[in-house]
């Protein structure tokens, strides 16, 4: 089972890790015990390509206190090629170029000394 700590340690090395349900094949983001789709508890870790498309996005201009120095910054939900979706920062792309469906690729970033999920332009 992939723990949160395990996920972010792999993410720091550039590797996006998912879990695949042995019952129905659903790809999910860890940690999860039972599969929400079929109720099976038989996950296997799978390495995800990190490629996906932007499902929705926003530019946050009024930030929480801990992130005030970063604002404005873009965040979004990315639908990964393998099927699961994941929330992340969108970096190195001008805000006006963002659009639903834009191809993106995973890259780790460090925010407040913590490894976090981000995406930059993909193919």
């Amino acid at each position: 089972m992939i723990t949160l700590k395990g996920f972010f340690e792999r993410a720091r090395d550039g590797c996006l890790t998912g879990i695949k349900c042995g019952g129905c094949g659903e790809i999910a983001i860890p940690p999860k015990e039972f599969c929400a789709s079929c109720g099976t508890r038989a996950w296997q870790a799978v390495q995800l390509s990190g490629d996906g498309t932007l499902a929705s996005y926003t530019v946050i201009r009024v930030a929480p206190a801990r992130h005030a120095a970063d604002a404005p910054y873009a965040v979004g939900v990315v639908r990964l090629k393998e099927g699961a979706s994941i929330f992340g920062r969108i970096v190195d792309i001008p805000f006006e170029k963002l659009s639903v469906g834009l191809p993106l690729r995973f890259r780790p970033i460090v925010v407040n000394e913590q490894t976090s999920v981000a995406f930059s332009e993909g193919d």
Binding site: Y57, T58, I60, V62, P64, S85, V100
Partner: protein
Amino acid sequence: MRRVAVIGVGVTKFGKHERTSGELFAQAAVDALADAELPPRAVQALYYGNVVGGETEHQLHTGPQAASILGIPTVPTTRFEAACASSHAAFRHAVMEIASGVSDVVLVGGGERVLNVSTADATEYFAYASDASWEQPLGLTFPGVFALVARAHMAKHGTTEAQMAAVAVKNHRHGALNPKAQFQKEITLETVLTSAYIADPLKLYDCCPFTDGGAAIVLAAEEVARTRPRAVWVLGTAAASDSMLLGDKKDLSRVMATERAAKAAYEQAGKSPADVDVVELHDCFTIAEIVATEGLGLFEPGAGGVAAERGWTSLGGRIPVNPSGGLKAKGHPIGATGAAQIAEVVTQIRGEAGPRQVGGARTGLTHTLGGNTATVLVSLFGRD
């Protein structure tokens, strides 16, 4: 199961207060008990909504604190935390407690104080209701969550920023008729559309304010309520949830928990959307109202923006939504909001809403959403 009725309601003025959340709730509860014509000793339990008391007031254990300030320190009491749906969750618990025969009279309500901290701090505390491993570390905010919903709804249905702005204009027009509202001032479409972006495409006037306030309602079993001509029956109350992570939600343009809770509440009540005369729903952001009107079955999926633009949800329209001014203009003291919405719908069904009265309102619905769309409660109310 016994029938349950609302026999008393009380709401403080919403806005900035010098009093604590416990004091604000207690003030509303005094009014609710007077409205119910019951002494405090008649209350057998208190279920209480409060969300960020730990952060803004360094106060946990707010159930007994609220009960103590009110002067009923020995009743069983629990604080409910379901983000912005907290006091609606407390309400559902109280209804089940009375319906099952455990208690005959239960007080429900909430209190919240946030205007004693900065906007940046309040924004951070509210974001604690999103995921602490995946979302908070990236700086997600609540306007951010609903901006993602808005962008997905715009991409799928062609919803426009002007349609969202129409919701704000309508709710401010309603709020101007409500003496308890935080904002009692009409605004124009241009004011909304030219306000600063908070989280694109949501602008300042697409967002509800931070608010201090309290609300309370007295619930009673049929045996107590039967002799009271102003009692309003609880016809159904349902809760539903959805995945916590934004990435795990199947379609960001819909709030699945609203759709599930609405279906269950309509079934309990034996009602359909066409039976509803008045709605108080969770317009924390203008897009949230549009998506909720669709999820509650008032309009077809994708038609919520058009409905707002054409005035179908205004007082005097096809189905008046948020005659109180909604969270947008009345204000949103998050722990108290669910109870305040119920108080408004009960007032409407009693025919006591004054200049904002929905003519002939017999059946009403309240909808309260918690956090990142992961919690929703829907309840239906009516007269015999």
